[in-house]
């Protein structure tokens, strides 16, 4: 028995590898002066989260990272229960998430409505001009075949096409339901893929789907000769990148750092930085470099 105890203790020691194993994620509640930065499960969100985290820790704010959590349906629960304190958000989709029936589409209206609609304890700081919208994306060949420019041109053909997007697109108000309500476009079939990621790109490329939900700042769109269709009826509302933060963690210092980032962040920057990620650069390094070049 002594031997067993020793062996178990030895394995425990090996396993421990750095302090109490259950403490790191066990409680979720961070100490009052540490900010837990989270991100959604796509590269741009991770990149902006790295930018926030890097800037904060450079100014002496204690930061831990919980990146690549999942979609908004998942991580927003984490924000509400205090598992994460800060996460990069997009004004339009966040507004639709907290207030399904909202109709605002212009950047300032969306932002003001969002401020009012957020549950108490959560706030958004200044919005950036950087926009990254969902878009209905097709291949150049499809554009030529149906002479498309906007989603409206697609309407007569919707019933013949298979559409691909993240699973949550089936239920979001600005997903399939919105396409039907605003454009009267109902696709033949919906294929659940991933969040504007490699699966969606591959499916569009190999013809498994003929139209897909991708992000406008995705460098895969130009790289693969895809075309993002215009959205004249504003199905996808303004999507300014904005930090969502737990009010208790938003000290004056934190606010000023994050607002300084939002001031410098524009759509062109997002496109450039996303291209660097696609060129296999590490998100934390890209974040650091940009912060240095932006002088933050």
């Amino acid at each position: 028995m002594k031997r067993i105890a020793t062996a178990v203790a030895a394995v425990m020691l090996l396993a421990g590898c750095g302090g109490d194993p259950l403490s790191s994620g066990g409680s979720g509640q961070s100490s009052s002066d540490t900010i837990v930065v989270g991100s959604a499960n796509f590269p741009e969100s991770r990149l902006i989260a790295e930018i926030y985290a890097e800037a904060l820790s450079a100014k002496g704010v204690k930061v831990t990272k919980k990146l690549n959590i999942g979609n908004r349906e998942l991580y927003f629960k984490g924000v509400q229960d205090g598992s994460i304190d800060l996460i990069p958000e997009y004004t339009g989709v966040l507004l639709r998430h907290v207030k399904k029936e909202s109709t605002e589409v212009a950047p300032d209206e969306v932002y003001e409505a969002l401020k009012k609609a957020l549950p108490s304890g959560l706030i958004v700081l200044d919005k950036s001009t950087a926009e990254d919208k969902d878009a209905v994306v097709v291949t150049k060949a499809t554009v030529a075949q149906y002479s498309l420019k906007s989603i409206e041109d697609l309407v007569p053909y919707c019933k013949n096409l298979v559409f691909g997007g993240p699973p949550e697109f089936q239920q979001r108000p600005d997903g399939l339901a919105g396409l039907k309500a605003k454009y009267n476009c109902e696709f033949k079939e919906f294929k659940a893929l991933d969040v504007g990621g490699p699966v969606t790109v591959a499916a569009l490329k190999d013809g498994s789907v003929q139209a897909a939900d991708l992000f406008t700042t995705d460098s895969a769109i130009s790289a693969n000769d895809f075309v993002a269709l215009e959205d004249p009826k504003n199905l996808f509302a303004a999507q300014n990148v904005t930090p969502l933060i737990n009010e208790k963690k938003a000290s004056e210092q934190v606010r000023s750092i994050l607002n300084a980032i939002s001031k410098k962040l524009d759509t062109k920057t997002l496109l450039d930085l996303n291209a660097k990620l696609s060129a296999k650069q590490e998100a934390d390094k890209v974040a650091k470099d940009w912060l240095a070049s932006a002088g933050i």
Binding site: G70, E73, K77, P166, Q170, K191, A202
Partner: protein
């Protein structure tokens, strides 16, 4: 559990029956491909007694292979579709079937094999008519273990846009609808039990009552 019994979820091109058929197809086709690879290999090594360490090493190595990574890598190489799904699942199913076949043949009484040789049987006959039939209980044990893992793991295929019951688990996760996810998980478990019962039935029908241990379900 309301989700599972809502008739609306039992119809249409993305309804439960369609997903069950997809999931079942993944399962049996995977097992078939894996059998074609694993049974001859396991039988050969078991019969000749050479390369046993290879079987054990390969089995353990493959067992450690994370299905998620295999799925992703094959998608990067071959695009989405059936290829990544079957590659990942076959790699999962080969080790238990191969190990079961190998162990089954090794466990056959040497005196029986000697007797078969003594009455003038060819090596091929010894393997096919004596060793394999006697090894069947353990071979079935391997298949049952493989089937269990394949049914349960085929769920992950939905991560790269494939069908099957995993769709409900992933969609439920994406929508944060626990009853859909739970419903999907229950269906997977039920399917696994049913597939296991099929193997029990097959085993009863094919294993000679004279074979020792015919009643046992192998190593699980």
């Amino acid at each position: 559990m309301g989700w599972l019994f809502d008739p609306a979820h039992w119809s249409g091109s993305t309804g439960i029956p369609v997903r069950i058929v997809e999931h079942f197809t993944y399962t049996w086709l995977t097992l078939l491909i894996a059998a074609v690879i694993a049974v001859p290999l396991g039988a050969f090594v078991g019969h000749t007694g050479r390369g046993g360490f290879l079987i054990v090493g390969l089995t353990n190595g493959l067992r450690a292979l994370p299905t998620l990574a295999v799925l992703i890598i094959v998608v990067l190489w071959a695009g989405i579709g059936d290829v990544p799904v079957y590659t990942a699942l076959v790699l999962l199913a080969v080790p238990p079937i191969m190990a079961g076949t190998y162990a089954g043949i090794r466990a056959v009484e040497p005196s029986i094999v000697d007797a078969a040789r003594g009455v003038g049987m060819h090596e091929g006959g010894v393997l096919l008519q004596v060793e394999l039939p006697n090894a069947l209980p353990l071979v079935f044990g391997g298949f049952r273990g493989a089937a269990l893992q394949v049914v349960s793991t085929a769920t992950i295929a939905a991560y790269v846009g494939a069908g099957g019951l995993g769709r409900f688990v992933f969609d439920g996760l994406a929508f944060q609808e626990y009853d859909q996810m739970l419903g999907g998980a229950v269906l997977v478990a039920v399917l696994a039990v049913l597939v296991d019962l099929v193997f029990v039935g097959l085993q009863k029908l094919t294993v000679s009552p004279g074979v020792v241990g015919a009643g046992s379900g192998g190593n699980r």
